[in-house]
Subunit: 189 residues, 2 copies
DNA sequence: AAAAATATGTAGATCAGTCTATAGAGGAGT
DNA sequence: ACTCCTCTATAGACTGATCTACATATTTTT
């Protein structure tokens, strides 16, 4: 495993991540990925014998891990679960604004347009979303919240929906109002 | 304006709606649309000189109007805004389950993967989402809720996020938990 | 030298869009 | 009643580009 090979593999995943986040699975061509990452065609099928599906699945998992780390980071920084979610929303808002509303949830576009398609990619999306929900549930359960599992799903729904609407309307309003909603949801019992 | 022409135009939109809902903008080929609707290629460019973008935009608007009617219908049936949203969630849950988790929000896939596509489609999505938010805001304002505008965005985020997650995980859990969250959000001040 | 990785070339399918030809309906004029 | 004319709509072939995947050859690393 030469470091050169790993570097090329990494560049391919990075390129795929950038493209599928904004254009989804079908909207991303391998030629585009190759152009962005500067890798030759042969390298793609050497590192990802499964072709497009394997590359996209790897990109999804990597993006998922990155957001997972973002959740943990926000949890470390904030005094409680509510603060962690607010921090997460702020981080997403900043990302969305910096990218001129092209980068919201890195999985969403792919999760939706591959839902009826390939099993590999769809399964990756399912696994990543579930891992995020579990991370949130852990935070909520750590505060003794009885409905941690359910609340984690609701909070994740709120965040994902706000990202979708903010990106589509090109306004931070949905994300902004999601802050208030999270505060209300995670206050009290 | 023969009725024959209108019928063909309608069949094209119906076919486009079915396909873009599950595969998004990029994932839907015009050949597929033609095959599903049984219309010849020439008819497509006769009724939609703007090509794919114009057809998809028309499909988005029609789907948007249908969901808008669904909101009004739920509002008529329920005693208050909270009940209306719960009815809407139930309707979406039924739709999702009946379609084996392929049909959630009819716009979402297109809204996300058409970020780079022509402005026509993106603008249609933005307009439809905003119209849904306004419909919800009217319901909330009618009950004297001061934060109707903000709450409408939050509720819509919650619904859209739950649809996304339910479809991706192939479970009704997110939609189910969204019911509880809506109840909590729309109870009290 | 053997294995790992890179570098192109190419195949076959599908893509959106344009082109020309033609069928059908309804009105006008004789 | 009949033909002529026009507009609407259908019908499908065709184009050039692009797509994923595979094949083969070359370079780099161990």
């Amino acid at each position: 495993m030469g470091s050169k090979g790993e570097a090329t593999r990494s560049r391919l995943i990075i390129g795929a991540r950038e493209l599928i986040e904004t254009h989804g699975y079908s909207g991303t061509g391998l030629n585009q990925v190759l152009a962005v990452s500067g890798a030759p065609r042969g390298s793609l099928y050497f590192h990802f014998p499964g072709g497009k599906d394997e590359l996209v699945a790897a990109a999804i998992e990597e993006s998922g891990a990155e957001v997972g780390a973002l959740i943990e980071e926000a949890a470390d920084r904030a005094p409680d679960a509510r603060g962690a979610v607010l921090g997460l929303l702020d981080a997403f808002a900043a990302r969305l604004e910096e990218s001129d509303f092209t980068r919201g949830c890195p999985l969403a576009a792919t999760a939706l347009d591959s839902a009826a398609a390939d099993d590999t990619v769809r399964e990756s999306c399912r696994r990543v979303y579930t891992s995020w929900q579990r991370a949130l549930a852990r935070l909520l359960a750590a505060e003794g919240r009885a409905t941690a599992e359910a609340d984690a799903w609701s909070v994740l729904s709120l965040v994902e929906g706000a990202l979708l609407l903010s990106r589509s309307t090109r306004t931070l309003a949905p994300l902004h109002h999601a802050r208030e909603a999270v505060t209300r949801l995670l206050t009290g019992p």
